[in-house]
Symmetry: C2
Amino acid sequence: MNDRPALPDAFDMAPVGLIESDFPDKFGIPRQPGLADAARASLVLLPPFDDPLTVRGLEAFSHLWLTFVFHQSPERWTPLVRPPRLGGNARVGVFASRSTHRPNRLGLSLVELVDIDTAHGVRLNLRGADLVSGTPVLDLKPYLPWAESRPEARAGFAPEAPPTLAVALSPAAEAELTRRDDGESLRALIRQVLAQDPRPAYRRGAEERVYGVRLRDVDVRFQARTDARGETRLEVIEIAPA
Amino acid sequence: MNDRPALPDAFDMAPVGLIESDFPDKFGIPRQPGLADAARASLVLLPPFDDPLTVRGLEAFSHLWLTFVFHQSPERWTPLVRPPRLGGNARVGVFASRSTHRPNRLGLSLVELVDIDTAHGVRLNLRGADLVSGTPVLDLKPYLPWAESRPEARAGFAPEAPPTLAVALSPAAEAELTRRDDGESLRALIRQVLAQDPRPAYRRGAEERVYGVRLRDVDVRFQARTDARGETRLEVIEIAPA
């Protein structure tokens, strides 16, 4: 490589678009894409990338890769992290994890492409995205199943989808959903998000605590309960304006 | 998002490592990973990312995502590109393609992790990589088959692996392979690379032309031939020092 110019110390990456999603905050976002397909999200391309020509032909693909920046994560990183899948106690290398606290803060999500709206600029409507609203996206690429679908791959400490919890809604929460035009899809979203157990791993014993997760324009307040068989479920106490 | 600081116009991304591979040049590199598993490649982490702790636990995963920069591609991009899969004539949007000529020049490759050498810094030995030697890598992540293997995905104009060509080697080329210690693996690599037909799509008619592809330390010179049934094969004429 002696005949090549030296590599730059860093590459400047400009966002090509921004995410608008049902997740105004990081807390509660499923830890991998595809786990909450009731979540609405769009990728809105920014000038000069918002020319409809840039996405010509993309509608023939069902799934997309998004490469994005975990812009709300700190820029500092450490060699070891504590993945929630290991209960928040065991530590693994940052590059053996999908932690958001990583060098370059790069994220990678496989999402479904629902449709493309080019009436004003370019808006890609997505399903299954796990991205906080406002996330800057650096690239999008079509998914190639013949190259990228490897069902036989070994996946260490994350060999399968995380287990889910049962979710219950209080009468007050149900009443609030009944009042809303988007009640049905919000109910599905709440169930999918809470089933993933968004509580911090190291606090999962503290059942009296009430947590709040922001979804769309509401704050969903929930608590853990243990049933007669000793199984934990999460119960939505209240759905309040955020 | 009004309570958030404004997004920066660009994000600075520092390479966390560099690729060393059997591909000293861009020409001839398979257009997707996994198509030439005889290709040797390593990812060598750079300081301060070369602490063995950063990859602790990664050996339990069989496949990795690499996010990297197509550093030899021009920084300019156009809204439409001509993918080789469409014969180099039809144009699609740059974001509907995996073209290297794209905004931010970001690449994404799924590779197999063979082993990890931490004797001096961190070297990840890979299989199936489609990366030119010297490629700067911005991130690596474990592959999660339960989230990322979607065999049912529709893939538009690239619904399956590209067709392959038959490859023949001249007696002179075979003799050169016999002289080399790595003759067997180099033969496999040459066959896999040429089977992908590295010729530019728009020139595939010009059969008299001799092409050269650099693999490891040699220049593999080849030509297209048409057999009695009208089928094209690529014939290696000569394997010469690069």
